[in-house]
């Protein structure tokens, strides 16, 4: 009775015990137990890693049930911990750490002012893009509806990059829905349980997304690596691709809507494992290690949302007004207080009726008229081609014209 020796197996006794099953089982019960446990888990692994019939559900029903039970048991603890942590964090950020709020407020106001100026130009570009896409028959997917969720847990492993959020199938979530923040793409839903869901981040080694490089419009596939990085590995060397180029979702994977920011090209180097391809490392737009709140895209639509359309229309109107102000003479700027007073001033103060014809602006009378002044030239119907004009002075003869030579 004892334990099997490590590296000192007594083969004679081993074969002797094989002939006596009970003695064999007794002597090697520990090793046999380990082998049985390993064998059972290996079989379970083999069953799991088979290609799933439904891509939206990577786990089989039994595995999914096990995960759901475990998540249900763990979620309350995660919620409590998250609530305590966020409460302490908010207490600190809301009441204690207010040192830079005034400066931040000033910076944000300046940023808003800059963005208002850029907004009009972007709106026109967007309209132009939509017109061109309509001409080419493209259908673009816009984010239609989203569900906000809080991150309450992580995988806690370096092999997987999975987040746990506090919304599940009861909130309308389904597997393979895209998860984003205001900065860009976070990942997609992997397992969805009744009250929680697991988000597979884009830097997980099993994650992938169809992307397009913003400037060069090169399409590629983005994948996560074991080290938690994000890289494009299916492109050959191309001198047009430079660090700093923005990477957007292409919409081709049917998971992420088109045009969402994914990150920025960080470095480009030859891929030693897959020649002649290059390993283009991408810095994610979202700090994936510090995600607190996310938006799950629950629906997309072919047109913009009504609110977005209103914003776009307002921006378009503002832009049109800005263009008119730049191109037309400013009739109101030149009005003197005297001209604006009296009857005219009363008329100017009265807003025009909705159906009134548009007022054509008239230029102010010239102080020193010449032949270019308005009204000094007779109508074209009274003019004769080739006739000398008595009203126009002859052109000045500065010097005699040289004769044409043949």
């Amino acid at each position: 009775m004892g334990h099997p020796t490590w590296g000192r197996v007594h083969w004679g006794r081993f074969w002797c015990n094989v002939c006596r099953p009970m003695d064999f089982l007794t002597q090697y019960k520990n090793a046999l137990f380990l082998i049985a446990i390993l064998l059972a888990q290996a079989i379970a692994l083999a069953v799991q890693v088979r290609s799933p019939l439904d891509p939206a559900q990577p786990d089989g029903p039994s595995v999914r049930l096990i995960r759901m039970w475990a998540m249900t048991a763990v979620t309350p603890v995660e919620r409590v911990t998250h609530a305590i942590g966020s409460g302490a964090g908010h207490g600190w950020s809301d009441y204690i750490d207010l040192r830079h709020v005034r400066q931040q407020n000033k910076d944000l106001q300046q940023q808003i002012a800059r963005m208002r100026i850029e907004d009009a130009a972007i709106a026109e570009d967007a309209l132009q893009g939509r017109r061109l896409q309509a001409m080419l028959g493209f259908r673009e997917s816009y984010v239609g509806s989203t569900v906000a969720a809080e991150v309450i847990g992580a995988s806690g492993s370096e092999q997987t990059r999975v987040l746990t959020i506090d919304k599940g199938s009861r909130d309308g979530l389904r597997p393979d829905m895209a998860v984003i923040t205001q900065d860009g793409v976070v990942g997609k839903l992997r397992d969805v349980f009744p009250t929680t869901s697991q988000v597979l981040e884009i830097n997980d080694q099993s994650s992938g997304a169809g992307v397009v490089l913003a400037t060069t419009r090169i399409r590629a596939i983005l994948r996560g690596t074991l080290g938690g990085r994000v890289q494009i590995g299916n492109l050959t060397a191309d001198s047009r691709i430079q660090p700093g180029e923005q990477v957007l979702t292409s919409g081709g994977d049917q998971v992420y809507p088109r045009g969402l920011p994914v990150g920025v090209v960080e470095s480009i180097a030859p891929d030693p494992d897959h020649q002649p391809y290059t390993a283009i490392r991408v810095r994610p737009a979202v700090d994936l290690d510090r995600v607190e709140e996310v938006l799950v895209i629950t629906g997309t639509q072919a047109d913009l949302t009504p609110a977005a359309q209103q914003d776009l229309a307002a921006a378009e109107a503002q832009h049109a007004a800005d263009l008119s102000a730049e191109r037309l003479p400013g009739i109101h700027d030149d009005e003197t207080p005297a001209a604006a007073g009296g009857a005219n001033g009363a008329a100017a103060a009265t807003p025009p009726a909705a159906n009134a014809p548009p007022v054509v602006p008239r230029p102010l009378p010239t102080l020193h008229s010449d032949r270019f002044s308005s009204g000094s030239t007779p109508p074209a119907s009274e003019m004769t081609p080739g006739a000398a004009s008595s009203q126009q002075p002859p052109p000045p003869q500065a010097q005699p014209q040289p004769k044409a030579t043949k």
């Binding site: 520990n30 390993l38 290996a42 890693v49 847990g153 806690g156 999975v162 992997r190 290690d289």
Partner: protein
Amino acid sequence: MMVTRSYMSRREVEQQSFSLSVTIFVPLGAVLLQVLLPRVFHGLAVLDLPFIATLFFAISRRSPIAGTVTGAAIGLLQDVLTGQPIGVNGMAKSVIGYAGASLGSRIDVENTKTRALLTFGFSLVQSVLLYLIERRLLGIRAFHLLWLHELLRAAANTAVALPVCLLLDRAKHQE
């Protein structure tokens, strides 16, 4: 026969047990902390608290079957929560539990230096086991073993394991 009797006597004398609450809640707490701590600081994902719990219970109980069961249970729970295929950590920690218990019955595991050496060594063994499972069994070609990273992980696990084990030593029941 004398050697065998002496060996059995020593094992039985030094075999230690834990209360039911410690047996259940310490591994559960280790797995939960493993899930929660990287939310606070992502660098803490380098630690493997379930591994530390597995090794501590295995070398304390000195029963290979108990060590295997403990390792399998902790590893499987870790797999369920991390989204990995169920069995990856389960298999690795089963072997760690078995080997830890087998070794724990032969050497003095109460010594701090021995404990540090065991934790460091078994952490590397677990990294190799995970590599074999991911690369060979699951066929994930992108899985690489970064030795420097694994050495750092083993050092971090050892640094955390020593005070944790000293704390958990108070929960032992000598038999």
